[in-house]
Every structure is written in structure tokens, then in C-alpha cells.
């Protein structure tokens, strides 16, 4: 139970950074941390104590393996996380070129 709670705590750290930090780069770092937390939660959900990594070495011999499904999901969500982080960084770079600041409270041309 404790590792799952640690993942939730890490997720909340990231959420805190996203909601309350004023610097855009800190917000993107917060998103990366949230994504790490969810990936870790998936990996912990699939862990089996005393089991082996799911690679078959001899044909037909099936040993006690860890759950391969969450590992497949984490592979997908790691690359999704990198893709969204890259898009956010591109926007942050262009916003800095236009507004000359990373402070989200000063980027206020849109009203309401």
C-alpha cells in the first residue's frame, strides 16, 4: 500500500507545481513529475513479489513472470508524456519570444 501512496504524493507534488507556480517552465516540470508518478503507479500495480521479468528464455518453459500488461501501457504513456512535454516546451519558447517573460501572471492579453 505504501508505494501506491508515495505515487499519489508525487502526483500531488506535480499538481501543486502546475496549479500554483508562476513560471511556465516550472509548470512543465510539474507535468513531467505528474507523468512520472502515474507511470510508476502502473509499474507498481503490475509488480509480483519474487517473479521474473517477462522474457521467455527457453521455448515452452513458462516461469513465474511479472504482469506484462501495465509495462506495455507505461511504454505508451512514457512516449505520450514526452510528446506533450515537447509541445508545451515549444509553446513556452514561442511565448517567451512574444512576451519576453515566463511569468504566467504577466501573460494577460486575453481578458476573462
Amino acid at each position: 500500500m505504501v508505494p501506491f501512496l508515495a505515487c499519489v504524493l508525487l502526483f500531488l507534488f506535480g499538481l501543486y507545481a502546475v496549479l500554483l507556480k508562476r513560471n511556465i517552465i516550472k509548470i512543465i516540470i510539474g507535468f513531467s513529475i505528474m507523468e512520472y508518478a502515474v507511470n510508476l503507479f502502473f509499474a507498481f500495480a503490475g509488480f509480483k513479489r519474487g517473479a521474473l521479468a517477462p522474457i521467455i528464455t527457453e521455448v515452452g518453459v513458462v516461469k513465474d513472470f511479472v504482469d506484462p500488461l501495465p509495462q506495455a501501457l507505461v511504454l505508451t504513456s512514457i512516449v505520450i508524456a514526452l510528446a506533450t512535454t515537447a509541445l508545451m516546451l515549444a509553446m513556452a519558447m514561442r511565448i517567451y519570444e512574444k512576451y519576453k517573460t515566463f511569468d504566467i501572471t504577466e501573460i494577460r492579453r486575453l481578458k476573462g
Partner: protein, 186 residues
């Protein structure tokens, strides 16, 4: 699994550092620490595929972050929060919200299967039938590219969308008249 708990504590500490430091480059390095400790966590949890991908993706993430920060500024926006007595009330409200959330999370997570004993209902089929029906020795790859190949197609499309999105956002002149104006200046 004491080493896992030590790793988790180190990760949380690095995350706090990543969020709070004033210097952006230091924050990126701290984020790198969190990422690599996640990779170590994957190794501890018997997930070699994930560890390889996480290490390399983490390197690229730090390279991208550094590329953007070095082209702009590495100074965090300094903000002085004057701690006034009236701020006690919002902190109390946030405090009991956090407490309520913590209680709810603990209540909900008690019903999850305990750490280290997953109920592998569908996964036992993958393990039993994986080698025969897909021919791949690496069961994770057989899940990714055969049992759930549609997920991987979707994921490859997400990366493709992000690349085209980055190319859309990065272009200098969104509208034609800016382009013509710039050409006239050159």
C-alpha cells in the same frame, strides 16, 4: 523491498527540489534526478523494457528542457510572499481539504490488492499463450505489438501529432501578411 522505499523518499525529495529552486537549470537537473530514479524503480520492479525507455527518454527530456531554457532565460520569476496574519484562513481551508483527501485516498487504496501481489486475470492469458501465438520471446513486446497493437498505433500517432504540433507552433509567421512584411524588409 527496503531499497524501493529509500528510492521513493529520494524521489520525493528531488521532486520538492525541482519545484522549489529559483534557478531553472537546477530545477531541470532535479527533474532529471526524479526521472532517473523512476528508471531505477522500474528495474527494481522487474521491468527492464521500461527502464531502458525511461533512461533514454529522460535524457532527451533534459536535452529539450535545456535547449529551451538556454535560448531564453534561466532565472525563475522571484515572488516575495509576505506572510500576513490574514493568510491563516486559506491555509486552514487548504489544510482540511488536504486532510479529507488523504483520508479518502487511504480508504480507497485499502481496497487495492496489496503491493507485490497483482490479480493477473488477463495477464495470465498473455503469459500462457504469448509465446505460442505471437512467437515473440519478449512478452511485453508481444503485448505491445500484437495483443494491443492498436494502442501502439494510437501512441505512434500521438507522437506524430506532437511533432506536427511543434512544427506548427514554432513557425515564425503564422499569417501571410507577416511573411510578406518580413520578405519586404529583407
Amino acid at each position: 523491498m527496503v531499497e524501493l522505499y529509500v528510492l521513493l523518499v529520494a524521489m520525493l525529495a528531488a521532486a520538492i527540489v525541482a519545484i522549489e529552486t529559483k534557478e531553472l537549470l537546477a530545477a531541470i537537473v532535479a527533474m532529471g534526478i526524479v526521472g532517473f530514479s523512476v528508471a531505477i524503480g522500474f528495474i527494481m520492479v522487474q521491468a527492464p523494457d521500461l527502464a531502458i525507455v525511461q533512461i533514454v527518454v529522460e535524457i532527451l527530456a533534459v536535452v529539450f528542457f535545456a535547449a529551451v531554457v538556454l535560448r531564453t532565460t534561466s532565472k525563475d520569476t522571484t515572488v516575495q510572499i509576505r506572510v500576513t496574519p490574514v493568510m491563516i484562513f486559506p491555509t486552514i481551508v487548504y489544510g482540511c481539504f488536504a486532510l479529507l483527501f488523504a483520508v479518502l485516498v487511504v480508504l480507497a487504496f485499502r481496497e487495492l490488492p496489496s503491493f507485490g501481489s497483482p490479480l493477473m486475470r488477463v495477464a495470465s492469458d498473455y503469459i500462457a499463450v504469448g509465446m505460442k501465438q505471437t512467437g515473440a520471446a519478449n512478452l511485453v513486446t508481444s503485448v505491445i505489438l500484437d495483443f494491443r497493437a492498436y494502442d501502439t498505433l494510437g501512441e505512434a500517432v500521438v507522437l506524430f501529432t506532437a511533432v506536427v504540433g511543434v512544427l506548427t507552433v514554432v513557425r515564425q509567421f503564422g499569417k501571410k501578411e507577416q511573411l510578406d512584411k518580413a520578405d519586404k524588409e529583407q
